[in-house]
């Protein structure tokens, strides 16, 4: 009797399990985030991308995420747990997840990984990033036109190629329309620290800056700009609510289309490891709506720049451009190649100050 009973339960369990397997045919897609989804910047935009994925392919996939995961050991554990729990495609959305992603990818060859902003790839690890510098060309142009003191303050995070490239792109665009423009750069050595970012903004304003650009993630500088009645830009997300008068425009990270494309590739079985570096053209970088504080002719100029960068008729780095030390980088008409951009570790001529190293 007892045997019969356990056999029956066994059978029932087996049926139940089979049912569960059948119902679980949805592709599991995971994300790990460096910040909270409510940071209204970097992580928030990635999570919007995830939501776009849910909206587009929700019947075929199931997404989940873990937020505020420190880089290093914790990331590796979270990735392993995700892979062990049957997640088949994982987006790792911070530079510092690079080594953990590669390590875990080695252990789970049938799981596919997509690492944002890194440079290490593997058979099952792709990398993707956006040409944010194109956005900086557009807002650099606006900043150059809008400054009255001819001083633009720039809050920079770390002296890595990504950030240096942004400073150079913005400076070149500003300089082209305002030969008297000066850039003051403050390095805060953090991606997200509202206190430090606010201090940097105040210091820049004291040094005469009346337009502030930033390569850090919090809206702190924009809030200060609003208080002091000067201009700034949204970073990563639109940030309009933090400085309705101060915000001139914004550089918006738009990951949704890429996420949808890559998940579709996994569903079709056409996914391959590759390096993606998309800009305004494919829509990975978007320029936020222009404030009505910007005169119509400047708006038109910025629009034209945006269009040219999108269709490829313009390049953010077109010669003649000299390096800061006066040596020639690009001859007249020459455009920068991706390899140099990816490892950029010099200022262009005209940027004040020394690059920290």
């Amino acid at each position: 009797m007892r045997l019969m009973k356990s056999l029956l339960t066994g059978a029932a369990l087996a049926v139940g399990l089979a049912g569960a397997v059948f119902a679980q045919e949805k592709l599991k897609v995971g994300f790990i985030y460096i910040g909270p989804v409510g940071d209204l910047g970097w992580t928030y935009q990635h999570d919007l991308g995830r939501k776009a994925l849910d909206a587009a392919l929700g019947d075929k996939i199931e997404t989940s995420y873990v937020e505020s995961v420190p880089e290093g050991a914790d990331a590796e554990r979270v990735l392993t747990q995700m892979a062990l729990s049957g997640t088949k495609l994982i987006f790792t959305t911070s530079f510092g997840y690079m080594d953990p992603t590669i390590n875990v990818a080695k252990k789970f060859p049938d799981v596919k990984f997509e690492h944002a902003t890194g440079y290490k790839r593997a058979k099952n690890v792709s990398t993707y990033s956006a040409r944010f510098y194109q956005g900086r060309t557009v807002i650099g142009y606006i900043a150059g036109k809008m400054t009255k003191t001819n001083t633009i303050g720039y809050i920079a995070s770390f002296p890595i190629p990504e950030v240096v490239r942004g400073i150079n792109a913005a400076y070149l665009a500003a300089k082209a329309v305002n030969p008297k423009v000066k850039f003051k750069v403050i390095w805060v050595f953090t991606w997200f620290d509202p206190g430090k970012e606010a201090d940097a903004a105040n210091a820049l304003i004291e040094q005469g800056a009346d337009v502030i650009m930033q390569h850090t993630d919090s809206p702190a500088a924009l809030t200060i700009a609003e208080e002091k009645g000067i201009y700034a830009f949204g970073q990563a997300s639109d940030m309009l609510q933090f400085g309705p008068d101060a915000r001139l425009s914004s550089i918006i990270d738009n990951w949704g289309p890429y996420y949808i494309e890559r998940v579709k590739a996994v569903l079709d079985g056409t996914w391959k490891s590759k390096a993606t570096w998309d800009g305004i053209g494919p829509g990975m970088v978007k320029i936020g709506a222009f404030s009505d504080k910007i005169p119509a002719d400047v708006q038109a100029g910025a629009k034209a720049l945006e269009k040219g960068l999108a269709d490829g008729s313009l390049n953010s780095f077109t010669g003649p451009i000299n390096k800061q030390d006066g040596s020639v980088w690009l001859k007249a008409g020459e455009v920068a190649d991706d390899a140099t951009l990816a490892s950029m570790n010099f200022y262009v001529q005209g940027v004040d100050g020394k690059l920290p190293n």
Binding site: S64, E76, Q81, M82, P100
Partner: protein, 357 residues
């Protein structure tokens, strides 16, 4: 009405029972929290408390996550017992990682089995030296070690930033503020000892530290001196305890242990020196020390419980889609209840009839 009445001696029974009570109370209150978020409370509690114990991977990861916490907490508990408050273990952790790491990087790319032991020694010395600053200042000038050790955490953090963007930066790392990867440098890496578990030398050291601390505190004259000083500094002085030596010894031990924890973390799970590798173990260890009632075995268990909530919390995020903030609240509840029920081991509840006049 109920009244709390001080017990003449703290109750051994209640000391043992209260942690269990606290966990149960947390489960109930946490259940309400998860129910309010629209999740099945029973499932949520299961995912956080039970699932990590059932999978071999998460089981071994609990040890890996708990190892630095326990190692640091063991050192801190000795000082705390004697009334010497080292709050700056985070700084000693960082300095240990930097000094040990720097020794390893100085020999790059020489291979040899002697390197990791040498680095571990340098790590211990780094942490020890950093802890000697508050110790010597206290001995010489009577400064407050809480303040000095805490402030030195910020000095260490900035020193780390300077080192990884300067002398210790990986020359092949695209200017990113990080050292070379220890995982890619065989002799300097603190490897996985049992495949698939993540267990490394730091975990073994943690077990050794628990055992040695138990012996010292219960069988050795030093343990007697520490306990006596904690109970009555005056009596200790009459018994021939030199308070200055005790300050140097306890701060020195906790600094050295924190330094080694940092070295094994950075050469193992974290993989390289970056500004982000310290994730607050030095501060969390203070909680672990008190949760474990400053007893080596208690600390061991407390460290595991802490690690369990981290790992279970990550699981809850991606399995149940609970926000990270809810997990933090849940962890807070656990600590709150643990401290709150503590009252029962020192007090008893008595029913007192109100006297009418």
């Amino acid at each position: 009405m109920f009244q709390l009445e001080l017990r003449p001696n703290s109750s051994a029974l209640w000391t043992a029972v209260t942690p269990v009570l606290a966990v149960i109370a947390t489960m109930i209150a946490g259940g309400f929290l998860f129910a309010a978020l629209g999740k099945d409370p029973v499932e949520a509690i299961r995912v956080i408390f039970l699932d990590p114990l059932l999978q071999p991977y998460t089981r071994s990861q609990m040890l890996v996550k708990a190892a630095p916490l326990i190692l640091i907490a063991i050192g801190l508990s000795m000082g705390f017992k004697a009334g010497i408050w080292n709050i700056g273990a985070e700084g000693q952790f960082i300095m240990g990682a930097i000094s040990g790491g720097a020794v390893g990087l100085a020999f790059y790319p020489t291979q040899g089995a002697w390197l990791l032991p040498l680095m571990a020694t340098a790590g211990a010395l780094g942490g020890f030296a950093w802890a000697m600053i508050p110790a010597l200042l206290k001995i010489k000038y009577g400064t407050n070690e809480i303040l000095v050790s805490l402030m030195l955490v910020y000095v260490a953090t900035n020193f780390l930033g300077g080192m990884v963007s300067g002398p210790l930066r990986n020359p092949e790392g695209h200017n990113f503020p990080e050292s070379r990867s220890f995982q890619d440098y065989a002799s300097a890496s603190n490897p996985e000892l049992f495949s698939g578990t993540g267990i490394h030398y730091g975990v073994l050291l943690m077990f050794a530290a628990v055992i040695v601390a138990y012996i010292i505190m219960n069988r050795h004259i030093l343990g007697f001196q520490i306990n006596l000083t904690g109970q009555s500094p005056r009596a200790a002085r009459f018994a021939g305890v030199n308070p200055n030596v005790l300050i140097a010894v306890t701060l020195g031990i906790s600094g050295a242990l924190a330094g080694m924890a940092g070295l094994f973390e950075v050469t193992g799970p974290a993989g390289k020196l970056t500004t982000n590798f310290p994730v607050g173990y030095g501060f969390t260890a203070i909680i672990v020390a008190f949760l474990g009632r400053l007893h080596p075995v208690g600390i061991f268990l407390a460290g595991l419980v802490m690690a369990l909530t981290y790992i279970g919390g990550e699981g809850a995020q991606f399995v149940l889609r609970v926000p990270a903030a809810a997990i933090s609240v849940f962890q807070g509840m656990l600590l709150f209840f643990l401290l709150a029920v503590d009252v029962l081991s020192n007090y008893r509840i008595r029913w007192v009839r109100k006297e009418h006049s």
